[in-house]
């Protein structure tokens, strides 16, 4: 599941939720991802996300990261912060693509944070 909104999975919030055993990923959801920092709307982001998902068969995580990277690279006017995405899910599902995917292994959740844009 992708939620395109600011600070969806901030590390501090993730740790806090984990300490309270309230991570919003159940045994069926493969992973939850979205910006872990401030992020910005961009008219090309959706197109690139779909493009990477369908044409290059990239992992869903890399497709989103690549789409944010590409769209911000082409137009970063006014963006002054580093933009990252956070991903929380089952390790077996991090390699999921649209065509190849695995069931949740339930062997422990993983949290990754990936930098998509670095300001000048």
């Amino acid at each position: 599941m992708t939620i395109m909104a600011c600070n969806v999975l901030r590390p501090a919030n993730y740790t806090s939720m984990n300490n309270a055993s309230k991570i919003p990923v159940n045994d069926n959801l493969h992973f939850l991802m979205g910006p872990s920092t401030y992020a910005w709307a961009n008219s090309r982001l959706g197109k690139y996300y779909a493009n990477y998902l369908v044409y290059t068969n990239q992992t869903i995580i890399n497709a989103l990261a690549g789409a944010i990277t590409d769209s911000y690279t082409e137009n970063s006017t006014g963006i002054t912060n580093t933009v990252k995405i956070g991903v929380s899910g089952w390790t077996s599902c991090f390699n999921d693509t649209l065509k190849e995917y695995n069931d949740p292994d339930l062997l422990g959740l993983q949290y990754n944070e990936k930098t998509c844009f670095v300001p000048p």
């Binding site: 690279t73 137009n75 006014g78 077996s92 949290y111 990754n112 944070e113």
Partner: protein, 325 residues
């Protein structure tokens, strides 16, 4: 007696019209909404940085990569000729009718691909890692830059055309949760490091934030890279506009309000005056994923309207019809 001179004059006029219509300088289209300030709106120039006296428009040429560079890119990606196929480019992230597409499976049995778009001058490589594999020996930030520069060399990039400043920190970290205790198993571990480089033309940056972005994983394994490197030749040189002429361009509605963060045209419209705070010349490179005919310089203007700061983009070259009030 009058016919011959008239024909010559009309032919000359026709030639001038054709040359003006075909002039690359005429076809500059900046991205954004046309910006038209109210009549008699004061615009003050406070930018202190100097502009070059003249700049070139460059014509984009096909065949950006030599056979040796294509061969090196395939070797970097662990591809052989049997992995190569040609596609129309319609179903790829890079729109190129001469697209070269390589595909195989990597050491984890995961997809690995390489797109080489020689006409538009772009490459994209990706080798999916196995998230269950042990991560070790991820390069340091310094090693990442050294490794990246080595790849750039192999891809035939003239390093003198790169900007001095690189953007480090395109990293990925990972933390796991113990399934029994439900506690984090430790602090975040860096599993991938990335770095990007900027291209400059005549010392001037492009509209894109980078021309090369690469990520390295365990033991310096290349996770992915993207290269945007068009081939181009000088086409026309023109003098740059003076501050007075640029203000005239803004007043006459020939600047654009590009998509940007932190300001809207509504915010700006409520101000009483505009100030040009800084001017940065850039070359407009489009998306880097599609063909463009020419690469033009433009002015990236940092503006102030009361407490609001925003950007305008404006043509920067003087040619017939431009710069006049």
């Amino acid at each position: 007696m009058f016919r011959a001179p008239l024909i010559k004059i009309s032919a000359l006029i026709g030639a001038i019209i054709v040359s003006v219509i075909n002039s690359p300088a005429q076809s500059l289209r900046l991205e954004g909404e046309s910006f038209q300030p109210p009549t008699n709106f004061p615009i003050v120039w406070k930018a202190t940085n100097d502009l070059p006296s003249g700049l070139w428009i460059y014509k984009v040429m096909p065949e950006a990569f030599s056979a040796a560079v294509v061969s090196n890119a395939m070797r970097i990606g662990h591809f052989e000729m049997k992995d190569v196929s040609r596609t129309s480019g319609e179903q790829s992230p890079l729109k190129d009718k001469h697209l070269i597409y390589c595909y195989n499976r990597n050491e984890y049995g995961k997809p690995r691909f390489l797109y080489i778009a020689p006409t538009i001058g772009a490459m994209e490589y990706g080798s999916q890692r196995d998230y269950k594999a042990t991560v070790e020996g991820v390069p340091t930030t310094e090693e990442t830059e050294r490794l990246a520069r080595d790849v750039l060399f192999q891809l035939g990039i003239d390093r003198s055309l790169l900007g001095e400043k690189v953007r480090k920190g395109y990293d990925e970290t990972s933390t796991k949760v113990d399934p029994k205790t439900h506690q984090l198993t430790g602090p975040p571990q860096v599993v991938v490091r990335g770095i990007s480089f900027e291209r400059r033309i005549d010392g001037i940056p492009l509209s894109e934030a980078w021309c090369f972005l690469i990520h390295f994983g365990s033991h310096g394994r290349i996770e992915d890279f993207k290269l945007r490197w068009r081939n181009f030749l000088p086409s026309e040189s023109h003098r740059t506009l003076t501050p007075t002429e640029i203000i005239g361009m803004i007043k006459s509605g020939r600047s654009v309000f590009p998509p940007q963060v932190g300001a809207s045209e509504f915010d700006v419209s409520r101000s009483k005056a505009l100030t040009v705070v800084k001017i940065t010349p850039r070359y407009f490179n489009g998306s880097g994923k599609e063909w463009i005919d020419f690469i033009y310089p433009y002015a990236d203007l940092e503006m102030a309207a009361g407490t609001v700061t925003f950007h305008l983009h404006c043509p920067i070259l003087f040619y017939e019809g431009i710069g006049k009030k």
